[in-house]
Amino acid sequence: MPKDQNLGEYLRLQGVSRRGFLKFCSATASLMALPPSAVAQVAEALATARRPSVIWLSFQECTGCTESLTRSHAPTVESLIFDAISLDYHHTLQAAAGHGAEAAREAAQEENKGEYILVVDGSIPVGNPAYSTIAGISNLDMLKNAAQDCFAIVAVGTCAAFGGLPNANPNPTGAVSVSEIIKDKPIINVSGCPPIPAVITGVLAHFLTFGSIPELDSLGRPAAFFGQNIHDRCYRRPFYERGQFAATFDDEGARKGWCLYKLGCKGPTTYNACATVKWNQGTGFPIQAGHGCIGCSEPNFWDKGGFYSPISAGMWGTREQLLGAAAVGAALGVGSAIAARRRQKKAQETVL
């Protein structure tokens, strides 16, 4: 798509009808929790939007986030919107590599100074920067350099947003999130492992429509998408209320679609749009497929005591520790009994 073409023209050329486009706009508006009256505004703004320059940096990551966004079964309006942005640099998707690619990134940064959106996926190793370098440049240096002149940063995926899997105990690479390094730019955390594609495009659509960053929650995530609790929106909730739980993945309860709380579902403590926006073009989401939510959009979800242990189980230690506590108590008991006996004896002696 040529740079001066606007989004509306581009989508029309790709065969997206006006109807399909408006449908996308109203879905996006409702996703962003905007009133119906805003649909026209979204459509107008999106249709005439110029392609924003996007620089996408991939650090310590598994490419799942990029996969999530680009591997849709059939090209959706979301993916076309993604095509329509001027993706000036993306390690994984671009053909160029090495110093040539870096030169292109620097040129794009220079050309769009103060206006480009920096998308980051993956965490940044600060323990030993050598764990991840691109063209000899450490992730830390590249992030600092690219963040300097950007308009805002979108940290895509739980790794970029909160440190992610690389940050899991014992965190061998010293992995940290973007927000632990960059303090002077607006950062939008689009967490999830991976994030829902519609949420990524929703954030981009918000930029294109309003030219500003969306309202964020206390963890820096767009409130419109991450304000929803999975458990509150889960279609298995009635089973939870009735006390009907699957105890194993192949018991009668599992076959009947009962609640997965006892199999470790973290839905009650997880905020994400899975239960409403869903995955694979709205086909379903993990709980619908019979597996509990693992809380992938929450910080430290991998260090919370196991994906298959219920939330209320807790990490209470080991039986040996409990026995140890009983032994300590017994020793204290013996001690206080001896002290009491002495006291009593002394008292008796004084009486006599």
Binding site: N229, H231, D232, Y240, E241, R242, G243, Q244, F245, A247, Y261, K262, P268, T269, P299, N300, K304, G305, S309, P310, I311, S312, A313, G314, M315, W316, G317, Q321, L322, G324, A325, A326, A327, V328, G329, A330, L332, G333, V334, S336, A337, I338, A340, R341, Q344
Partner: protein
Amino acid sequence: MTLLDFALGPGLKWSLLIMIAGLTWRVVGVFLGRWRRDLSRPRSEAVVQGGLRTIITRSAPARELEKNIRFQHITGYIWHIGFFATVLLFEPHIAFFESVLGFAWPGLPSHLALVVAAITLAVLVMLTLRRMIHPVMRMITSTDDYVSLIIIISAMVTGIMASTHMFPRYETILAVHILNVELLFIWIPFSKLGHLFFWLLSRYRIGSYFERKGVKA
């Protein structure tokens, strides 16, 4: 570390350890302390039966007193049964016990457990108010009782709020509820709430003692 991580991790672990150490301390201390030697001739040798009988007979008020304490008696039962039904039969609680004990048991539907909890809480609040108003009750109520009541009432309130999602952030109210229960764990061995574990022992002891003395009570 979030508040919930703390509550489910170190908070849970240390409160359990303190509770267990405290309980064994009390039991061992009592058993190994000096017992007064009873030099009198026993009126009855059936001290074991006497002890066991008292465990049962003390579950109902003495006939002579029944009329006077019927209210206390009935509400006391409602509150205790309701409390244990909520603690032991609410499914997320069972999941907790299963993680510690290694086995589970059937529970109540969550909304039924909620109704039981609400009734229990209402009775407990009523009993607390009565304690504060009734002149005799007031005299026999100590700070120990009030602290216990505050901890239990707040544990029930936060539990109901968590299970009904009546607080904007579920994980926050859940963490507060769990921390509240951990405070209860720590408080149990050092307060009158120790009767949770010691009621059988103390009834047995009194019963066998009375039996030996020939007291029918």
